[in-house]
Symmetry: C2
Subunit: 212 residues, 2 copies
């Protein structure tokens, strides 16, 4: 008899600062929890537009934005991660999301996504540029040129649209977001541990009678 490994779907958006924090530790934390990650790049833009936002809430609400950048600096310092503020912010993550979607192999997709986030947020490279995307992927042993070209593939475009639609269907409104096999939604790098515990079946679940 084989027992299925618990899985957790990770919705990540390349423009999202807190997605960077989560992406850089996700594989390690998931391995520790005995959970397999299903990586789904998606786009927040259509979700934000539907609620009337034309840019990141961190730009729309300056006090929130100032706290976010300071919080990122603190968290990155504590985790030993470099942080460079992308300029412009937010980056247009469409190309990177399509290219990451085009990577079929799970392990390769994880590696590619992590390399692209590090290029953007640690090194300040422009991941909206196809040449940069190709070079970053080549740097982690993937066929960057072929993958960058696949961004124009209608099937890849459709798959990314499907990921965004699926995210919306699960109630996603920000990034990163994590969805368990039983549909439980967790938002933010701050909820990664909770999401993994839920996926692994070790979380305290609400709704039981008081005192049970």
């Amino acid at each position: 008899m084989t027992v299925a490994t618990p899985t957790l779907t990770a919705y990540v958006e390349f423009a999202s600062t807190y997605s960077y924090l989560a992406v850089m530790r996700l594989e390690e934390e998931a391995a520790r929890a005995g959970v397999t990650v299903r990586w789904r790049p998606f786009l927040l833009g259509p979700i934000f537009k539907a609620q009337g936002w034309e840019t990141s809430p961190f730009n729309l609400y300056p006090a929130k934005g100032r706290h976010m950048w300071r919080d990122m600096a603190r968290r990155c310092a504590a985790r030993g991660l470099a942080l460079t503020r992308p300029d412009p912010f937010p980056v247009n993550g469409l190309l990177a999301a399509r290219v990451a979607t085009a990577i079929a192999d799970t392990g390769e997709r994880a590696r590619g996504i992590r390399a692209l986030f590090a290029a953007e947020f640690a090194e300040g490279r422009d991941i909206a540029d196809p040449a940069v995307v190709a070079a970053v992927l080549e740097g982690v042993g993937l066929d960057g040129t072929a993958l960058a070209a696949r961004a124009a593939d209608p099937a890849v475009k459709a798959a990314l649209r499907q990921a965004t639609d699926d995210a919306i269907g699960h109630g996603v409104f920000g990034a990163p977001s994590f969805v368990t096999a039983d549909g439980e939604l967790f938002w933010g790098d701050d909820r990664l541990e909770d999401a993994l515990a839920w996926a692994a079946g070790t979380a305290v679940r609400p709704g039981r009678p008081q005192g049970a």
Copy 2:
């Protein structure tokens, strides 16, 4: 020679769900970190209104609101806290904020604030009602009737306005928020540990050279 105990200013808003989470553990966590809490009830309403919000963002953005309530249920279950959804939500916290501001003694203020949050979010009582506020405070050994009457005192009203202005001056945009003696701002129950570590001088601080 006396060494001053580190302090942390806690800005809490009675309508705020995540303030409830923080308030119920703040004294214990602060004691463990060797930090003294300076309690400052404030009002988010004027801050939200200034950015065009007439109600809680959890009402304005339904997907965000649905996640918040589920997240609260999960966190409360994990911490052994009861949770009742206030109706209407958000409560008008003006009266409770004024009354809490009127409590001069630090220990009594902490006790009063905690009792009011528990009445609202654990028991579902209406803390916009002066009789309820008085009864809740009496229940923890305070002179609830006299304190409830002090909500109309112009000096108390002015002190609460000052707390809100000070919060804005520190960059506060949500609740709970924590501000250290050196002006570092931390937003959310999720950042309580970070704020206490910063106040206690044990946090990793950003801005040092790479690799230092």
